[in-house]
Amino acid sequence: MNKNSFVLGLKAGLSIAIGYFPVALTFGLLAKTSGLSIWEATAMSIFVYAGASQYMSLTLISKGVDPILIVLNTFVLNIRHFLMTAALNEKMQSEKRWIKGIYAFGITDESFSVLATRKEEKIGTAFAFGVALIAYSSWVVFTAVGHVIGANLPQFLQAAMSIALYAMFVGLLVPSMRGNRKVVMLALIAAVINGFFYWTGILSTGWSILVATLASSIFVEIIYVRHEKRKRSGGQLKGV
């Protein structure tokens, strides 16, 4: 494995690790107050590793909801990852399937965003492992820490750090928007559709992000394909 590229991956994933810190800490704390032991809480972070699903499961567990429903809800919440990993696959270096199966476990909204917005044509396996590992470590370690200390960060810091992952998403998006009208359209249209679903309450968060993303990606692609065609046929006309 390329060591240099692995280290670069660790570096690129550092902002995810920082963003996960307060979220994992709070998860550990909430898990404790929901009656989970440190092993039960940490095992969930180790084996499931999905922030939104884990938070949801705590709510459902404390309400005594049927485990099958908890699992179903988790699946629905994570369906969007089908779309993300299919998109990521286009950008990943060709690799043995079982190796891809390992780093696939580390794909979250955040690691996907960091990987998929890289400028390189192809992303190396070692780099993906670096990004995934540092984010995962932060998630697992700070879940346990949150359970052990059983207290949160000072209120002002907790509040401020809740912006971290969103600031990271903004930091990944804005540089790509520069001088690229297609990227601007993609993000804006998806945001508007997602906002519509959020405020009307038609779809739950997991579905909403999935539908908004897909609708925007297809819509913009249609516009651009048509645009290209028109340009091409326009050129031919001139040729005639």
């Binding site: 902002s15 039960e40 499931v48 908890i70 998109a87 286009e90 794909i107 903004v170 993000a187 990606s217």
Partner: protein, 102 residues
């Protein structure tokens, strides 16, 4: 928690892993039609739009102003600097100062 907890956890782990692993492993080495791969190439930027908005406004429940300030600061820093750490830590810093004062 009883044994059911561990069964639930295993179930959650499986249904979380499937959407992550199936496309990456099954699509390996497969050439997709240009239209499909064109749409897939758009996904990252559309996802970011949907992940950011409107959730960024609601990072602090019941405090829309907090989210708005965070949004403005994050976008401003992202326009001024390209370094991700500067953007993330800078936004946290400004909001920390804000919540200390108010």
């Amino acid at each position: 928690m009883g044994a059911w907890y561990w069964w639930t956890l295993i179930g959650m782990a499986i249904v979380t892993y499937i959407p992550r692993a199936v496309p990456l492993t099954f699509l390996e080495g497969k050439e997709l039609p240009p239209v499909v791969s064109g749409v897939l190439r758009n996904i990252p930027y559309a996802v970011l739009g949907a992940l950011i908005f409107p959730a960024i406004l609601y990072v602090q429940e019941g405090n829309l102003l907090f989210g708005l300030i965070g949004t403005v600061v994050a976008f401003t820093l992202a326009i001024l600097f390209s370094n991700l750490m500067v953007i993330v830590l800078g936004t946290i810093g400004v909001l920390a100062i804000y919540s200390l004062i108010f």
